[in-house]
Amino acid sequence: MLRPRVIPCLLIRSGGLVKTIKFSDPKYLGDPLNAVRIFNEKYVDELIVIDIDATVKQSEPNYPLIRAIASECCMPLCYCGGITTVDQIERIIGLGVEKIGLSSILTHNPRIIEQAAASVGSQSILAVIDVKKVPPFGFYQVFTHNATRNSRLDPLRLARLVESLGAGEILLNSIDRDGTMKGYDTDILQAIRDVVSLPITILGGAGTLDHIKSLFDRFGLVGAAAGSIFVFKGNYRAVLLQYPSPSEKESLYSIM
């Protein structure tokens, strides 16, 4: 049986591991390599690493760090952050990363997906869609640059576009839910799922394992990514890296 995936998502800023709330207030957590080692020992299904500085600072990806992270991972690794060219994608795949997440570039040059898929294959191209409800009507729109720029794109339209261009997976990230631990935004997930057949991973809002379980109950094969729940413990948000044990994880998809 193919299982839904439970995926810690680590944010990198200035070479350090951080966690944000609604894409703001990054709290420093520690050394990213150390975190990767710990998650490796916990047999996580996959790992997503997002460099939240790269696009904003328009800097090149931090290749030495990506290489070091990739060589620690005995599980699939996805890297996101600041990717603008196929050369960068090829180089990072060559460092031992399975999947590359594309985000802000999709809003002005979505065809990079076609070129990248021709080179490294669709399965390695992840389209990251950061969504936020915009007042006064609460329409979902696609944001970039750490949620500071509204592209005014409709996430459903972007999802259909990235599928038609050959993306292998969609990472749907709710800006409103980021770090809130109040549960996933299943409305937008349902809406996206209704218009594409690509595998989807959702990020933003998981606060308990029950949130993940109810996600799997409703959506079946879907990736459940989360930050806070895997890096914080207790009301005071003490830093503790944790991940469900194999038996806890089995109970998350017990009804499948």
Partner: protein, 203 residues
């Protein structure tokens, strides 16, 4: 010494690191001049069939790899590295290496009555393996898969392990000293580490 064929595709570093941790001698193989001490070859791979073949052709190692196989050295292809061993693929127009007779087909999610087909086949799945040294010591095996095409061997006896994604298909194939796994052992935690250890012990 294990030789990980580096033709610019696939996760060579992850494989190297696992063997280093296992204290099994390993090195990268970038050209024919690196072949001398190699007893086992691993051909990793991600990406599209034709692209991978062109890279392998351009590396200048294709012929020598065939010679190595003919001389009896164990070879393990991973993911696209496995698919290259077929005669052909629906993903491309180039001829495969033809080391294990068969063709590579696409998962058909339009024409399947099953709701349990996922394209790409992405995630951790169980496998059922025959009694083969490659799978010794691996209980409740589950491995990480990421692919949209699968290897369909011409002969059933070349299937070493199966899994399901809408249909049942080969998770691992083998013919003489030539082996292929569709999943990523280098990304499958303890299960994959054991499989890579087992491969290094094949004679």
């Amino acid at each position: 010494m294990i030789g990980v064929v580096d033709y610019g595709l696939g996760n060579v570093l992850a494989i190297i690191n696992i063997y280093k941790r296992l204290e099994v001698p390993v090195c990268l193989v970038k050209s024919v001049s690196d072949f001398r001490l190699i007893t086992h070859f691993i051909i990793p791979g991600v990406g599209s069939f034709d692209h991978a073949l062109m890279r392998l052709n351009r590396s200048g190692m294709r012929l020598e790899l065939s010679n190595a196989i003919n001389s009896g050295l164990p070879v393990l292809g991973i993911c696209v590295g496995m698919q290259l061993m077929a005669n052909s693929s629906e993903e491309g127009t180039l001829s495969g290496l033809g080391w294990i007779p068969g063709s590579v087909k696409r998962f058909d999610n339009n024409n399947s009555s099953s709701h349990f087909i996922s394209v790409p086949h992405l995630g951790w799945n169980d496998i059922v393996a025959i009694d083969h040294p490659l799978f010794h010591g691996i209980d409740n095996a589950r491995f990480y898969f990421l692919h949209s095409y699968y290897f369909s061997p011409q002969y059933d006896h070349h299937v070493l392990a199966k899994t399901t994604n809408g249909i049942s298909f080969a998770a691992a194939v083998g013919s003489h000293n030539c082996y292929g796994v569709q999943f990523h052992p280098e990304k499958s935690h303890q299960y994959g580490i054991q499989l890579l250890r087992n491969f290094s012990l094949l004679r």
